[in-house]
Symmetry: C2
Subunit: 355 residues, 2 copies
């Protein structure tokens, strides 16, 4: 065995969709002889129920000791009344910090077969092929915060938005490197007309750009970017931005791309990286076998590409997914008149057959 | 004369569009006998060129002494190299602070004639009728900031996001009052799963909601709201949110609504309120007489409604704009085969004729 993958199913539909992705990984493994081994660990509400914490140290250690992490989803109303510090989503924030997952890559590429699923008009969506590079371990997410204090005679709360030069340099370098392998365009998104942090961000990105003359750099204010993503999403190649703006824009971009159930993501770390679909744990349909596993399956393809450098195997998965869609199969979330409905297991088998 | 209106044309197309709105105001004045008087003042790059500051004290004083402010637009690359503290957009931030314009109201209502102009599919856009209530004088916009400091051996910059209970109460009350006059639904948008400020925001809005049992309150995370605005914008009635999230979401919502040239806004102050279109100063088309004045004209209607309580006159303007569009007239930004093209002056005359 040459690669160790930690699988974290998490909560809700997490088990079904990671099972599906592992089945697909086993199929490419059989074909390409990759030598993949899997180790399962808990996180989220499931971990809280078992161990009293959403992110056991054993899970963190296992992730660090593996070549890559495949993550399902966490969360559910079941844990709404749990102490905020122990809620399922703390698992994901904790993994980001502990594994130093500094960059979240969210490709939005619309399969021809799915152009009609976007809320945007088809002519605006056809040909969209962008990737959002979101800083993931800094900014206001991890800045100092205060839940309540007396200030000028009233109660207030605060959070510190902040970025250092090295933090911005690191993510900017990754964005430029990514653009070089694509269409050579970086759009850096900030709010430099209002925020000091954005001004440091902008001048640091500009400095990194000097070492990448072959890449074109544009700056865009976040409000304008939120507009442009809806007006003309094809204009973008690589979008690089901070943690908070990235959270908002990457969800908006995902919607533009059509079905959220299809969208993969990679969170790049300094030692191990983590791969997960962008959708949530959908507790309402958990256990019914109808979840769309394709976001997770495409995340597994990213895992092969970025962590294991098995480009051929990654492409094999992506092509098999495209082919399955082109052949007219749809999971219930995507089903329309005239297509063949396939549940989680069926679509997984159809994808495996096409590998 | 019974009402004093301060008109601030600003930069770029600001003069053309405020001229158009004033002409429309004069027409309703003639019909309804409102007794409107106008006083013109400078702000933005134009003021910087004349007085060395984008916001002269005389402009602030005039605004305070009037019943309402009609604002055009400010900005332009011409002032790109000006000291950041003196850039045109400082005028708008300065006016917000000096007039305590604590709430920005951005209605997004899609005229039947313009459903096709949205990047979203017509079936998603038809019937959209929402208003974003954005807090405008607090949050990270006006929190303490630091352009550069040494911290842990590196250079960093920071901005303080913060809200006090009274600040949130004030904007929440306005949102609930607004919802009561509409469909009775408030969606409060925050990032309470990450930010302490959002947790104070959420619990304060919940407290205000207790006094408004007849209004339905929902909480939504900002990333989810960015998705929902694109997926199903008709679900919203009143959206209330902080300064930064409001900046992003209101621009996204405007795009959903179709033409940015059509969108008005009201910034509600404790003594005087300010009305402006949401689009910018468009220096590239300034002076050509082709700018779409309808966003400013509809802002003038909001001025009549909120500051002068002249509801009938406000409605007369809104109906005249709708009628002009329904009759097939379009400014160049909206023109398509089969419609009659009308420049700034012509569309203004057509609207006046329909009052
Ligand atoms: C669950 C939440 C803390 C998280 C975030 O805000 O980063 C999620 O929205 C995401 O984008 O992965
Ligand atoms: C010009 C800029 C400072 C301003 C803001 O961010 O508030 C603008 O985007 C707006 O929304 O009015």
């Amino acid at each position: 065995m040459s690669y160790k993958i930690t699988v974290i199913p998490g909560d809700g539909i997490g088990k079904e969709i990671t099972d599906a992705a592992v089945e697909v990984l086993k199929t490419v493994d059989g074909k390409f002889g990759l030598g993949l081994a899997y180790e399962y660990h808990d996180a989220g509400g499931t971990a809280y129920d078992k161990f009293g914490t959403p992110l056991p140290q054993s899970t963190i250690d296992a992730c660090k000791a593996s070549d890559a992490v495949l993550f399902g989803a966490v969360g559910g109303d079941k844990w709404d009344d749990v102490d905020p510090a122990l809620r399922p989503e703390k698992a994901i924030l904790g993994l980001r910090k502990n594994l130093d997952l500094y960059a979240n890559l969210r490709p939005v590429k619309v399969a021809d077969a799915l152009v009609d699923y976007s809320p945007l008009k088809p002519e605006l969506v056809r040909g969209v092929d962008l990737v959002i590079v979101r800083e993931l371990v800094g900014g206001i997410y991890f800045g100092e915060k205060c839940e309540s204090e007396q200030h000028d005679g009233t109660e207030r709360a605060w959070d510190l938005e902040n970025y250092s030069v090295p933090e911005v340099e690191r993510i900017a370098k990754l964005a430029f490197a990514t653009a070089k392998l694509r269409r050579g365009k970086v759009t850096s998104v900030d709010k430099a007309n209002v925020l000091a942090t954005s001004r440091l961000w902008r001048r640091t990105v500009a400095k990194v750009a000097e070492e990448h003359q072959e890449v074109e750099l544009n700056n865009l204010y976040v409000d304008n970017c939120a507009m442009q993503l809806a007006i003309r999403p094809t204009q973008f190649d690589v979008i690089v931005t901070g943690n908070l703006f990235g959270d908002i824009l990457s969800d908006e971009a995902a919607v533009v791309g059509g079905s959220i159930g299809m969208m993969p993501s990679a969170s790049i770390g300094t030692c191990t990286s983590l791969y997960e679909p962008i959708h949530g744990s959908a507790p309402d349909i958990a256990g019914k076998g109808i979840a769309n596993p394709m976001g997770t399956i495409l995340s597994a393809a990213m895992l092969l590409r970025y962590s294991l450098h098995e480009e051929e195997a990654a492409k094999a998965i992506e092509k098999a997914v495209d082919k399955t869609l082109a052949d007219g199969y749809r999971t219930p979330d995507l089903w329309k008149e005239g297509f063949s409905k396939a549940n989680t297991e069926e679509i997984t088998r159809l994808i495996c057959q096409r590998i």
